[in-house]
């Protein structure tokens, strides 16, 4: 009985849990409740993925109303993969939250924090699960609003400034998305994604469809933080509380990439997006610039959170680049990078959170001597860093492999070289971090620092161990990603 309603449970569970969490006044209770919910969500997403791999597409009608009049949750391999990524990250990050949140946010607000966090989770899961265009907009705004609040809870006053900057840019982006959906509705009369794709295919040459494509793409690119629409991301990730940075870095932009994939390939279709509209010509140069500029600016940062925020921008460039290839290898690389980057970046920001918890600072200079005193945390940071560079045996290498393969298959040699150059630039800032942590002695007047508590180190290591495990045993991730890629390209044709 429940099994039939799993798709809606995935979204409804955190939605109902959020106000309940706020009611649980005591911080420890709220945290425990949030942890249980996140674990339940992980179980649900695993079950859904297994069902989709075996049975094919799941179609769930909300309230029993048949589409296109009712809202439909249409789950295929890609949806379930993204759902898995988000819920896995949540399941690992939530247990970590207890000590980190306790040290960074004022105690009376903890239950509010967990409540808003669950709302953000609702929004992100909803975007991935739904098959209705307007539903995507609503869930996107739910997750964004929750994110603005979460970011604004950071300890310094700059967190509020970062949050309002993100609010303004994010709302403009979402409203563009709404305009695009409105134009599509105007032309076709439906909001269901599958239905829209059929009807749009019948009227591809109309100007409103072109305009809709443009509005939707730009709106999603703001959420994705692609150059030049990335300005909100560094401030937001730097000033937010550590766990929020970790959670958002690992999930929010990935969902943005998912929305782009859905609209470009499922709704508009391969032929329209790449042949009638110059998507490749626009997206590819922008993503290459993003890759290089993101890494390049990261080199000069000495606040570690800001450094890795710019690194995130650069990695998002890889996602967009994979999408712009519009080939099986390219899309496989992009989809698998959604998973790999979530693991790596989530782990890195969690490690930074451990550092903040023990030392109170995330400056590069605070790393001196930490290699000895916080060995597990620093080792985790190094593994994540090596993954960003794309060293073999990490999952980052797998994504790079497929992206360069896609470039070579498309005979785009300069692009292949630039992808590899991006790895080298990443090496520079990762090298700075390694050198500071291991090869510089700690200052003589530094207070004694112990390793971070086990409750924080274990989730960090789970994520980074996953990034190594899936860099070696790639059959699961690549299998799912390839199926997703083929399905995206196949539906369009």
């Amino acid at each position: 009985m429940i099994a039939g309603h799993l798709p809606i449970l995935q979204v409804a569970l955190p939605l109902i849990a959020a106000p309940l969490c706020v009611l649980l006044r005591r911080s420890a209770l709220a945290w425990a409740f949030a942890t249980l919910v996140s674990w339940a969500l992980l179980a649900i997403s695993i079950m859904l993925l297994i069902r989709v791999m075996v049975d094919g597409v799941i179609s769930y009608h909300l309230g029993g109303w048949a589409p296109p009049f009712g809202i439909e949750y249409r789950l295929d391999t890609l949806n379930c993969f993204v759902l898995l990524v988000i819920s896995a990250v949540a399941a690992v990050v939530t247990p970590y939250m207890r000590q980190s949140v306790a040290s960074e946010i004022a105690t009376p607000r903890h239950n509010l924090f967990y409540g808003v966090y669950l709302l953000a989770l609702t929004g992100l899961l909803g975007i991935a699960a739904t098959g209705d265009a307007f539903n995507i907009y609503v869930f996107m705004e739910i997750s964004s609003l929750a994110s603005y609040v979460l970011i604004g809870l950071g300890s310094s006053r700059r967190a509020r400034a970062a949050a309002i900057q993100y609010l303004i840019m994010g709302t403009i982006g979402a409203t563009f998305l709404l305009i695009g959906i409105g134009l599509l509705y105007m032309m076709t009369g439906t909001l269901n994604l599958a239905d829209l794709s059929q009807r749009v295919a019948e009227v591809p040459d109309m100007r409103p469809i072109y305009a809709a494509f443009a509005f939707i793409t730009v709106g999603v690119l703001i959420k994705l933080a692609l150059f030049p629409l990335h300005i909100w991301l560094p401030n937001a990730y730097t000033e937010a509380p550590s766990v929020v940075s970790a959670f958002l870095a690992a999930s929010a932009t990935k969902v943005g990439a998912y929305v782009l994939l859905r609209f470009v390939f499922t709704l508009f279709g391969l032929e329209f997006s790449f042949e009638r509209m110059p998507l490749m010509e626009i997206l590819m140069p922008l993503s290459l610039i993003t890759i290089l500029v993101g890494s390049g600016v990261a080199i000069f940062q000495h606040d570690l959170k800001r450094l890795f925020a710019y690194s995130s921008i650069s990695q998002i460039g890889y996602l967009a680049l994979g999408i712009s290839f519009a080939s099986t290898s390219g899309l496989t690389g992009a989809i698998v990078h959604i998973f790999n980057h979530a693991m790596m970046k989530g782990g890195i920001f969690l490690a930074l959170g451990c550092m903040m918890y023990r030392t109170g600072s995330v400056e590069l200079s605070a790393l001196h001597g930490l290699g000895r005193r916080m060995p597990f945390t620093m080792a985790a940071l190094i593994i994540g860093g090596l993954g960003l560079v794309g060293v073999p045996l990490t999952s980052g290498f797998v994504s790079k492999w497929y992206l360069v393969q896609a470039a070579i298959e498309a005979n785009l040699w300069p692009v292949a070289v630039l992808i590899l150059l991006g790895s080298l630039i990443a090496l520079v800032y990762v090298g700075r971090v390694i050198e500071a942590a291991y090869f510089r002695p700690s200052p003589p007047d530094a207070p004694a620092i112990r390793e971070a508590p086990l409750q924080m180190v274990i989730p960090t290591w789970i994520l980074l161990a996953a990034s190594i495990y899936f860099g070696v045993h790639t059959d699961i991730t690549i299998g799912v990603a390839e199926r997703g890629a083929e399905m995206l390209l196949g539906i369009a044709q």
Binding site: P392, V417, L420, L421, L424, L427, G431, E435, P441, E482
Partner: protein, 488 residues
């Protein structure tokens, strides 16, 4: 035990050793014993594979799939067997030496040192036994990363800068050039397996093959072909045992081993000779040999002189591959082993001199032959081996390289070989002569008598020097091992 299990064992032993060392690291005796036991165990595992390989078998094992059609595969063939034997034997000797060196010089971070050594050896074994280019690339990168902490060991500003340069050059070449070549091969041919006769023939056009050769050869930065040789002198900031590891046991040997392997099994000798326009490679290798020898003449710092000497000697191997005939490749493969023993002796001696007298420059070494007879004796043996004089090991490899050049009628190559031997003599002999018969420079201190290096270091030095001689006198084993490689 089956071949596949032995391969896994050979990889597991050094990795397990590293784990063990991290656990017992704080107890000095346990740490030293753990290192020694691990290295002996590795040699035993590697040696156990020898009979099968000599009989013509190719033990192999596939571990898991990285991408559809691309597996993490291992296969033991004669060249890999040679490299693995060399690395594991010399590891034992280096461990003995480094225990003595680290203790005598009071170096910090000894546990980290031994752990990184273990992991570096594991990577070297992985490279030796790799069955396709992807597996080799994995371990190649792992080797660079494992040796970085060793180069930056002392933690001073100079060490950090040197290590940065080391990492930058090696990773830049491997990511920008080698990885690009590997992916190109994968997309063009559909496989990355090492097969006799190469996989590129018939699958790609001639211009593509030429470009691929360029990418591969320059992408293997560890082979120190000019202009990507700069990491080797920069890495001399490391302690002497690390230099020994880099130059003789693992890193540069992995580099030239990779080039020979690519030449034999990705391109195939016929392809290089007939299609891939390998001529430019002859010029680059020849130029590297000569220029590096000339630069060695100008170095006063002993370790820097030895570094440039290594750059020059490595290109002998590349030269052999570029000539691409049976004698030349035999000479190149032999040189991997011969040079290994000779160079490691020289570096051990340099470290011993530093330990005993704190001297690092050639100009300070007048008369040291009287004070450190064993050390300088070994140094002389090593130098003569590199020059190519019998009865020391380098003679055989030079002989085969000369035969190879005569086979092709490549008199320019012959000239390069002879001139470089002359240059080797020029930068080694004066040093040796002045060590025994001081002419000027710094006078002998009043109280002479032998002030040799600590015993452990001397033991190691003696073993490798004797090894140099032994390789000359009993080369049959190596010949028999390598013959099927070139079809002789």
């Amino acid at each position: 035990m089956s071949g596949g299990a032995l391969i896994v064992l050979a990889l597991a032993i050094p990795i397990g050793g590293a784990v063990l060392l991290s656990a017992v690291g704080r107890f000095a005796h346990l740490r030293n014993e753990a290192s020694l036991v691990t290295s002996c165990g590795l040699l035993a595992a590697v040696a156990a594979l020898v009979p099968a390989v000599m009989a013509g078998d190719r033990p192999s094992i596939n571990l898991f799939e990285f991408a559809p059609g691309l597996e993490f595969a291992f296969e033991v063939e004669p060249l890999g067997m040679l490299f693995a034997l060399l690395a594991s034997f010399l590891w034992i000797v280096t461990t003995i030496y480094s225990i003595g060196y680290l203790a005598a010089n009071g170096e910090p971070h000894r546990t980290r040192f031994h752990i990184c050594f273990s992991l570096a050896l594991a990577s070297a074994i992985g490279i030796a036994f790799a069955g396709n280019m992807l597996t080799l690339f994995f371990f190649y990168e792992a080797l660079t990363l494992c040796t970085y902490p060793l180069v930056a060991h002392s933690g001073t500003g100079e060490a950090r800068r040197g290590a940065r340069r080391y990492l930058a050059i090696l990773l830049s070449t491997s990511i920008m050039l080698l990885l690009l070549a590997i992916l190109w091969t994968w997309v063009a041919v559909g496989t990355l397996d090492f097969r006799a006769g190469g996989i590129l023939m018939g699958a790609v056009s001639e211009p593509v093959m030429t470009v691929l050769l360029v990418l591969y050869v320059f992408g293997v930065g560890k082979a120190a072909l000019m202009p990507f040789h700069g990491w080797l002198p920069a890495a001399m900031v490391a302690p002497a045992p690390v230099s020994a590891l880099l130059h003789a046991v693992a890193v540069v040997k992995a580099g030239v081993f990779t080039i020979v392997k690519i030449g034999l099994y990705i391109f195939g000798l016929d392809a290089i000779r007939d299609f891939a326009s390998g001529e430019w490679l002859l010029y680059v290798a020849g130029a590297t040999i000569l220029i590096a020898s000339l630069l060695a003449l100008r170095q006063d710092n002993l370790k820097h002189r030895l570094a440039y000497s290594t750059v020059s000697q490595l290109s002998y191997v590349v030269l052999g591959v570029a000539m691409a005939n049976a004698h030349a490749v035999m000479g190149a493969s032999l040189h991997i082993a011969m040079h290994g023993f000779a160079k490691i002796t020289l570096f051990f001696c340099a470290g011993a001199i530093y330990t005993a007298t704190q001297k690092t420059h050639v100009s300070q070494l007048d008369g040291i032959g009287r004070r450190m007879p064993v050390t300088m004796g070994a140094f002389t043996i090593g130098a003569f081996a590199l020059i190519g004089l019998p009865p020391f090991s380098g003679a055989w490899s030079k002989y085969y390289l000369v035969l190879g050049s005569l086979d092709d009628g490549a008199y320019a190559v012959l000239a390069v070989l002879l001139i470089s031997s002359l240059l080797n003599a020029l930068y080694f002999l004066p040093l040796i002569v002045r060590a025994y018969f001081p002419t000027g420079g710094q006078p002998l201190p009043a109280a002479s008598g032998t002030t040799e290096a600590p015993t452990l270091q001397l033991i190691a030095i003696s073993i490798t020097a004797l090894g140099s001689v032994a390789l000359f006198t009993y080369p049959q084993f190596l010949f028999n091992l390598l013959r099927p490689l070139v079809g002789m």
